[in-house]
Symmetry: C2
Subunit: 923 residues, 2 copies
């Protein structure tokens, strides 16, 4: 019989920390904290296997599950000395999801389960507090009504219907705050809530605790497939197969009086990464209140509390009185919490995110997990933990998700521009960076307006998981309520969005779609600017400017010694470079791009697209003349006009790269891409060329193609018009010779695109090599160079052994290889690819991260077969996957020599390559 239920509590547990896949992260860590002897309310975990079973069997459960759950409940009853459904001393439960990978707030939670009109009397008896008991009861009914029974607001403009009843009750009883409602009022609310459910859903609220539990468990498993969970998994590449576990745990109460509190904390600051305990709490509250950001929480640490008060213009006396730190308010519990924090960091060797509740002065740990953090914090933690000897350099490298480096490169406000603006308000600096954009108030609007190309700032009273697509579409997120650990803050940091949270001075009106601060007001579509680093909010548009790392590396406007962020970046990059096996190159077509790429650590150019050069200035005229040429003579004459431009561009690139390899791809796109398609432009062109409009139009028609992706392009151009290959080769080698003569190193690698057969390569390479020999003879410069090819058709990978007989290097063009291998046109697949990813027909967009199972096989095959013919074949990739960490790992496993990516992704590729080496060395 399979074990589907694992109990924990009282310092022991059936599960273990290493059983994350089975118990979920939360379940495994609850077991672990028990093993560490920390105070954890007893409970049990229903495994992820049950979730898989549930979806594989039309949402039913294994036969033996119920009896195992029953045993679990008996265990909890015995540890907590309560009875589930007991009228005197009832066991109340929390039911929470817990997937193997953290998905904060994505799935459902139910608290206070077990309450009904009978057990509530037991709770009154036990707590001696009818108000508390009915407050718990009304919360439970509302939560259950929403999560399990599915009673939602009727539209996005409407408030939660339970909240509406709550607000009405406050009005009729003449109180302002929830906490002022009397036990009777709350009792009435329970009845009103149940009536609402009956009225809207035609359902009787279940009174039987066991029925409640069964419903809650199904709701949690069901939430695994809700839209926001699916979107979250997509964004975070979490396999749907993993499933979630369900954690059923005895309730402890942070809302049982003034000697109760609840809070969340990080063992270090999750925004800056500073080694300082960072926590927020609420007195007399349940945990969800902190995370949901409905009340602005107080600080755990005194110092942080003082700073917060300063920022909010609150006097020290008022602070101590109204917003004391936990350190001051409950010094013993705080001391225990800090000790636990240290032990957790020492045990997990990482920054931890913890949830705790204090019930009648007793501290309970509700969960712990590795803490989410900003890119900045991740880097700082990694570097400093090495310096603290807590982790190794190898571990530090693995601790930073390479894309997090993006956050160090993200813009900040231009200081001079900023001086002209006064903040309209100030909130929490919840997601670093600077953003400016147009205001929208709903996630859908954010998606819509972002699609027009305008930057968008999503402004919400508070965010919820339903907003996730809108947050993704926005440049920045601004909320009125919620702390550093609110939903908005957590998600924004993870997505790398600028975020200012808990900016309470704002008055947000969803209906009028306005934000008002005092007398100033802006509306939907107006500009707003956020500093995610200071928490300042500005009405109006403030230009942004480069980050510290950019200022040091690219602008050279900042001394590295004055740039602490840069120090961390440089240290991490140094460790990465010391380790990584693969070289990192860049895709760049112009000298200025090359300069950036080298500053970011590029060790060569993996792809220079010569056709981009064709469009600059008047050059396009000569190119068009070449295309319109009737015969070889005319074509050669037109080509001779293009050549000086090409040579000049190549000279510029060679100078910057100074001896580093420069891979230049010969003309690739179909010729029709260079001709105008509008009649107007065709008439102009005809005039410029001194031919008739009809001639131009006919040529455009003659060249048009049904499937240009599979048409007359790549080396197929050079094969039919060897004079183009000849001209480009001349430009390359003449430039190389000229620059070498200046004493600068040059190392061109001429790349022939879209090779399908070895014979094509042989024919084109012969032209290139002949031209090289001619130029060397004419200039007297002896040039080192390679001639190789792009492997971007499945056939090329399949016959790579033949091609490598003639080619000195391969560069996988994984964009086109993906298109042909999968039969997916990048331009057209937008109609169905998002559906595919959302419905797990594909695990991810194969243009973002390489399809390892399919396209990856071709890369491996091409690599192995190429090397079998030519053991010293140089092999890299130059598709956009070169900047995707998962793809970089894959290419390292295959054994490629280098990856090439856009200049701004070079640091990411360097780190990802280092991670790949570290992982490989571990095995």
């Amino acid at each position: 019989m399979s074990q589907y239920v694992y109990t924990f509590g009282n310092g022991s547990a059936e599960g273990r920390e290493d059983m994350k896949l089975l118990l979920g992260g939360k379940g495994a860590n609850l077991a672990s904290m028990n093993h560490l002897g920390m105070p954890v309310p007893p409970g049990f975990t229903i495994t992820t296997e049950v979730c898989s079973y549930y979806y594989a069997h039309k949402r039913t459960y294994p036969d033996t599950l119920q009896s195992q759950i029953d045993s679990g409940i008996r265990f909890v009853e015995s540890v907590s000395k309560t009875g589930f459904g007991d009228k005197k001393n009832p066991l109340l439960l929390s039911v929470r999801s817990g997937a193997p990978a953290s998905m904060p707030g994505m799935m459902d939670t139910i608290l206070n389960l077990g309450l009904n009109d009978e057990t509530v009397t037991g709770l009154i008896e036990q707590s001696g507090d009818p108000r508390f008991a009915y407050d718990s009861y009304r919360r439970f009914v509302a939560m259950y009504g929403d999560v399990v029974l599915g009673l939602k607001p009727e539209s996005k403009e409407k408030e939660d219907p339970f909240e509406e009843l709550l607000d009405a009750k406050k009005k009729t009883t003449g109180v302002k705050y929830d906490s002022e409602l009397s036990a009777d009022a709350l009792k009435e609310l329970v009845a009103e809530f149940k009536a609402l459910i009956r009225g809207r859903l035609g359902l009787e609220f279940p009174d039987d605790p066991r029925e409640q539990l069964a419903g809650a468990i199904s709701a949690v498993f069901g939430s695994w497939m809700n839209d926001r969970a699916i979107v979250y998994r997509q964004l975070n590449r979490i396999p749907a197969e993993w499933g979630t576990a369900v954690n059923v745990q005895a309730m402890v109460f942070g809302n049982l009086g003034k000697d109760c509190a609840t809070g969340v904390a990080f063992t270090r600051d999750p925004a800056s990464g500073e080694k300082v305990f960072y926590g927020e709490y609420l007195v007399n509250a349940q945990g969800e209140d902190v995370v949901a950001g409905i009340r602005t929480p107080q600080q755990v640490m005194r110092k942080a509390s003082q700073e917060w008060a300063r920022n909010h213009g609150i006097s020290e006396d008022d602070r101590k009185d109204q917003y004391p730190s936990l350190e001051e308010y409950m010094p013993d519990a705080t001391k225990q919490l800090l000790e636990i924090s240290d032990r957790l960091e020492a045990h997990y060797r990482d920054m931890m995110d913890i949830e705790f509740t204090i019930q009648n002065d007793k501290l309970w740990m509700l969960q712990c997990r590795v803490g989410k953090r900003t890119g900045m914090a991740a880097i700082r933690n990694a570097v400093e933990m090495v310096e603290e000897k807590l982790i190794t350099e190898d571990e530090a490298i693995l601790r930073v998700e390479p894309n997090m480096l993006n956050q160090l490169l993200r813009p900040i406000f231009d200081k001079n521009e900023l001086k002209k603006h006064t903040p309209a308000a100030r909130g929490l600096n919840a997601g670093p960076g600077a953003a400016t954009g147009r205001v929208v108030f709903h996630a859908d609007d954010a998606v819509e307006m972002a699609a027009t190309g305008d930057p968008v700032i999503l402004v919400r009273i508070e965010t919820s998981p339903e907003d996730i697509r809108g947050m993704e579409a926005a440049k920045g997120i601004l909320t009125q309520r919620g702390g550093m650990t609110s939903h908005a803050a957590l998600v924004a940091r993870q997505m790398g969005r600028v975020c200012v949270a808990g900016c309470e001075a704002l008055d947000i009106d969803y209906t009028a779609e306005t934000i008002t601060v005092g007398k100033r007001s802006i509306r939907k579509g107006d500009w707003i600017s956020l500093s995610g680093s200071t928490g300042n909010v500005y009405f109006g548009k403030i230009p942004t400017r480069p980050s510290e790392v950019i200022q040091v590396l690219l602008d050279r406007t900042l001394d590295p010694m004055d740039a602490p962020t840069y120090r961390l970046y440089a240290r991490l990059m140094q460790w990465a470079d010391e380790r990584r096996r693969m070289k990192i190159r860049t895709n760049a077509d112009q000298p200025d791009q090359c300069i950036n790429a080298v500053a970011f650590g590029a060790e060569g150019i993996g792809l220079t697209r010569t056709e981009h050069m064709f469009f600059e200035g008047d050059r396009i005229d000569a190119v068009r003349e070449m295309i319109l040429a009737d015969d070889l003579e005319d074509r050669k004459q037109a080509l001779s006009k293009v050549k000086p431009y090409q040579r000049e561009d190549f000279e510029g690139i060679f100078r910057v790269m100074n001896g580093k390899p420069v891979t230049i791809r010969l003309l690739d796109p179909p010729l029709h891409e260079f001709l105008p398609h509008e009649e107007e432009a065709q008439r102009e062109l005809a005039e410029t060329m001194g031919i008739t409009f009809e001639e131009v139009r006919d040529k455009v028609e003659e060249l048009s193609e049904s499937n240009p992706m599979l048409g007359h392009r790549g080396c197929r151009l050079g094969i039919l018009y060897p004079e183009i290959t000849e001209m480009q080769s001349q430009a390359i080698f003449e430039a190389a010779a000229a620059v070498q003569k200046e004493g600068i190193g040059v190392y061109p690698e001429v790349m022939i695109p879209l090779i399908m057969t070895s014979r094509e390569f042989k024919a084109q390479a012969a032209v290139v090599r002949r031209v090289a020999a001619d130029v060397m003879r004419e200039t007297g410069q002896r040039l080192n160079f390679l001639v190789g090819t792009m492997i971007e058709l499945p056939r090329a990978a399949l016959v790579a052994n033949e091609i490598a007989k003639y080619a000195e290097f391969f560069s996988f063009g994984t964009n086109d290889l993906t298109q042909t291998c999968m039969g997916l046109s990048r331009d057209d697949s937008g109609r169905f690819l998002p559906y595919y990813v959302a419905n797990s027909l594909l695990l991810h967009d194969p243009f973002e991260s390489i399809d390892q199972l399919g396209v990856g096989q071709l890369v491996r095959m091409g690599f192995e077969r190429g090397r079998s013919s030519r053991p010293d074949l140089k092999v890299g990739i130059c598709g956009e996957h070169g900047g995707d960490p998962a793809s970089v790992h894959f290419f390292d496993r295959i054994g490629l020599d280098y990856v090439s990516c856009s200049p701004f992704r070079v640091p990411i590729a360097r780190l990802a390559a280092a991670q790949a080496t570290v992982i490989a060395n571990r095995k």
Copy 2:
């Protein structure tokens, strides 16, 4: 030291019959005839290795070649007791190409080499005939001027410049025939020819025999890469790497007087296949005269001669006098020739094509080779040789090139229509079948007019290898001059073109572009009809009708017992069917196509394209309604209108196929293919649908794609619109249930197209299987069926093991697999693919015959991986390669269960599959 020269003569030879790749076919057979003790003029063969060397080394030769040639000449001198360049007794040579695969007339030949103003006197002395000597000399100079020095007509309308001088000389000397020119006139012509060369080319004609020989050898090697040789190799898939050998042989003369003759013959009739010696000869002529078709040759056999005379209205007396058979004219030589013919057939066990010359009553064999023949003859030879116990059934199967079966299926004239026409003229029945088309006179015009879609008949005084593309484009070929073995006749038979040759009654005027017979005249573009079976030529258009095999099998208008051709076909097919391992299916969308296919032996349907059914009649309206539907409800409603049509079609097909498997592919093309693209039609559609024109236009624009081949099509439609899959599945299974209820067997195989991932398949197959279960439950019919997929994307082949976990069969869609694997759009590749094939960048068009090296690897991989997951996976192919014999062989080697091809290619596939088995069993 490599041996580059192999001598033969006097009953011995350095080469052997099995050295064809080295010595070429001609060289190997010359060696063989020597070993058989037959009379062969001495000579030597320069190997194909020299040809390869020549092209690999910028048209230069290996160092030791010259000395080996010198030795070869000394050998020939010693056997023939002559001296090369000797003034008294000069050795004269023929220099001929000879490739491993026969390429008749494709490459160059030079005769009488060694003549100059000095040696010609020796030839006069030896022959005692100054006229003969100068005739040989002027022929040599003209041939050398043309072939080696490259003196060509100035335009296609112009005659050969040497012929012009010859004609002028006949006029000035007042004679009608070449043979009437005096020795002095011929001597003058030699000087005039040389002056022409000097004037036009600025070259002195080389007098040194060794210089002549060197030039001739280079010309022969050079001719390997001339346009017509390249085209020929393309058409016949002969690798350019093979190269040609050069045969240098002592001249013998068929033009040394009345006791001389030259001829070509076949050991059996090459047109009908009848077992009767078939030869043509000319008295006092050189061999090229027969082949070139300039003079109408006489028959070797008396019986054939008599028949010829009857057909030409020549009395027996006149015949005996003017056109005697060789049998009558030179009975001894004929007897020897027939003996040699029998020995050659017994030795080679095949029908042989032989060239002979009789010099002063002595018979010389100039070459022998396996004879080209019509499809009819090939089949008859193969079947009859088995019946004669000359060859085995296995050999018979290998003797017939499967495409030759096409000729048995080719149309004949409708007899009733034919009665209404009187032949305008009669020529030789050189290529069987009947053809009607528009007259053109030049090969280029044939290509051009054929491209418009009109059938074309190419009419030439005589054809030459330059005409080959035009012959390919034409339905039929008509020549004024030349015999059954003329260039026109040989090539037409091989290409399967209808041909009437040597129709001397015609007066063809290239300038006026007219054909005149007596008073009747037609011009370019007029209709003409040819019977390649009787040799009759008709002015006007005569409808054609089905062949004998078609009449027996499809029309059932002919009793098999009255159909001798059908007997041969049936016998051969029986042997093939007894042997072949693979099943043959057909691609058919309609019941009538299925009936044909079954008659041709199809054992199932490998591909029914459901979308073809969408276009018939009003159905397209419902289909368009479905596409234009705004939501699921509307779409389902439109689909419900389409369903009855689909069901009806499937019922018809199931009835015909009666239990044989029927593979039905679900909707494949992108939806925009069903919408009109012209504004006019869009407006009409809008009206029909009751929506605005703008809505239609917007939908068309919304659906348009950059690369539809890689777009939203195949199962990607069914994934996003499962209701389409559902409707089609319902139509299939409802039809199956209905037909099965009638007591007819049904076996549907539902095929899901364009699968990229196993998850897509799983999702679509679930819909199909669910519908099947529903229909079975509703109808109470238990249906046998399979659900499988088309493997047409490289990725599908790569992950075939995953897909086969869910799919019960695979069918390789090799058309699309070729497009994606090679990155070749079939619609667009016309711009460069012909160049690729012509220049050996590809060995053949990969859409005609599968690219075994690339695409073939994916087929093999898909097959092996699929079977690894599901050992009983049924695997076939349904691309157009299923009807290409070379591809069929390849698929058999891989191990596929079946191939599927168009109905008319089913017999071809059956034979090809049998050949594959025979070849496999031999190994």
